[in-house]
Amino acid sequence: MIDTVYIERDAIDDPVTRSILASIERTNSTPTNVIEIDRYSEVFNPRSQNFRLQKQKPSLILARKHQQHVLPTPPAYHIGGDFNYYFSHMLNCIYDCRYCFLQGMYQSANYVVFTNYSDFFDQIASTARQFDKPCWFFSGYDCDSLALEPITGFMQQCLDHFEILNAQNDNKARLEIRTKSTQIRSLLNRNPLDNVVVAYSLSPHSIVNKLEHKTPSLEKRIRALASLQEAGWSVGLRFDPVIAAGNDESLYRELFESVFSRLDCEKIHSVSLGTFRLPKSFHKAVKQLYPEEPLFSVPLEQFKFTDNGNSSTMVGYPRQVETRLMDFCSQEIKKYVDAKQLFVCSDDSLIPPSPNKNTSDQPINHSNHHAG
């Protein structure tokens, strides 16, 4: 599956590196090309790489993350908590959703996995300790949380960590695992944790087929949700991004009906809703990569907003289209769940994190939805 693995010299001796390499070698019929590098940015960041071409067969880069393992989310990112952070043990994704902001954000489609997992867990614990109220950590921001789990084993360790935190009386840490993957063995094989929500990104069947390439079908995702709920896990539903279509209302009505009819609605932790939207520069890059894609040729407008004196421009549906979609979807969803369970990301609440919070080695996403 992965033929070429770049490894930072500093990460070569990590147990995680060895275990990932062993998993890859078990699945490869030919020897894996292993290439030593100094820093992952040497391979990942250079310009003049073509994301679309690399998506044909991405390589894997194993690296160590040295700073900012945990970052605050934009204010619109929350599911009811006051304190919200995200983390990305991986950059890029094995799926290929046409609306994904990663295509516009990164030069390269190669996967980066940061092998110093324990540094992420330490920062999560120390961040949560700062607050006396629940503090949410969102996984699957720059990747899908579970899609590469059989190789990385990250979430298994992360859950061990949240289990320990859960056992501590003063623990306030909460985890959202956002995913489209049905790799849920690591969850079903253990007792559910009440400080963890498994949140699935869902779209109408035909939008999954047209735009969410290589992802599990809607049906498989619904089955995974039902299995998790049955096993006692708290689940969340993410209808984000909602895609405008000539027949969007009937598509989404049908989607809500097929999802909610299969779940115990009262036990759904949260439902969130947002429309398709990208930072202007990402939109430009993605449109260049996929000029034939109708998603980028439909009427779109630019929105300007300012945060801490920095102004940014987003591209999204015209306001009346966005308002119609959000109103329609909200009304439909409220037929199944309580309004308190529903969180709507509107452009009014959309403010990106301030750039000084991201001095690190990766750009920040200003779109409203997680990648995963």
Binding site: P46, L53, K55, Q56, P216, K220, V298
Partner: protein, 316 residues
């Protein structure tokens, strides 16, 4: 898919080039500064030895092309590996700077690190090939083409058992001579062509430029004459002067026609007078014409669960 992409071979020596020239039946083409060969979409340039020559020749060859190209540096190198074996450069260093060619395909040739040096080297360190041009060729190529399309193949000409220099320090001429170099490359022609074909196949994954359908093309031609003026005849019933269309308006009109094509929306063959009042109103008309052009996605098709389906635990 892009229009036929040029495959450009870059070699330092005539002896390295000769087997490729023969294999692809390339013809000498006129040009100043460097020896160039070509036949349609296959081109070859001989750079001479060293980084300066290599960079200048690569830039020279690529600036003559006005479309996407694949750049393939082919040549000999010293290494600890068996002579005659061929390697793909997975990384190419020049001092502290390292370039990593992008590999979004299955590569059958083994990989090696190539170090580009100023003088022939007999360091023969483990898994390193020493050459004198690769870094310059690939770094220059990446100013013109994306990282997936700039590669380097090295054939091992000398190693610790077959050293580049004799004991007295003179070049081992029985090992390194035009015939032996020609022979080394010739024996690897199958590997070179297979690798080139693999990279060429990648170009099928590039987007084509959106071709305007005939109606839209006609419409653009009808609206704009070749001095970028809104044509009088497209504005019937008006005695106003022809309107100038700026370069940016031409771009906007072309983009709007392309969006109509992508979204399968027909532009009315007879445009209303108010749309033709001036260029701006035409642009506004075409934008409004797309205001509800959101594609329909089919309603649910059969994707029902069957009891035989395995539990959803594995999807990779």
């Amino acid at each position: 898919m892009q229009d036929a992409t040029t495959l450009l071979f870059v070699t330092a020596l005539q002896a390295e080039a000769q087997p490729l020239i023969q294999h692809y039946s390339l013809k000498h083409t006129s040009g100043r500064g460097f020896r160039l060969y070509g036949d349609g979409t296959i081109q070859l340039i001989i750079t001479g030895i060293g980084k300066l020559n290599a960079a200048a020749a690569t830039a020279h060859a690529l600036s003559r092309l006005n479309k996407e190209a694949i750049v393939m540096n082919v040549g000999i190198a010293g290494s600890d590996q068996p002579t005659g074996s061929m390697f793909h450069a997975h990384s190419i260093s020049d001092g502290n700077k390292v370039i990593y060619p992008s590999l979004p395909f299955v590569r059958k040739i083994p990989g090696i690190r190539v170090e580009t040096v100023d003088q022939p080297s007999t360091a023969y360190q483990r898994n390193i090939a020493y050459d004198m041009e690769a870094a310059a060729v690939v770094a220059t190529a990446r100013r013109y083409v994306s990282a997936e399309f700039a590669h380097c193949l090295k054939i091992i000409s000398d190693n610790p058992d077959n050293c580049l220099y004799d004991r007295d320090g003179s070049l081992n001429r029985s090992l390194i001579n035009p015939n032996s170099i020609n022979d080394l490359v010739e024996r690897n022609i199958p590997g070179i062509t297979e690798f080139s074909n693999t990279v060429q196949h990648l170009t099928t994954k590039l987007p084509s430029t959106i071709s305007l359908n005939d109606d839209h093309e006609d419409l653009l031609n009808t609206l704009l004459d070749n001095t970028n003026t809104l044509r009088m005849e497209s504005r019937p019933g008006t005695d106003r002067k022809p309107l100038h269309v700026t370069a940016s308006q031409t771009q906007q009109l072309t983009a709007l026609c392309a969006r109509h094509s992508v979204l399968n929306r027909e532009i009315p063959s007879k445009l209303p007078d108010e749309a033709l009042a001036n260029t701006r109103s035409l642009i506004v008309f075409l934008e409004n014409h797309l205001s509800d052009a959101y594609p329909e996605y089919p309603q649910h098709t059969d994707d029902k669960i069957t009891s035989k389906d395995a539990p959803p635990t594995s999807d990779v």
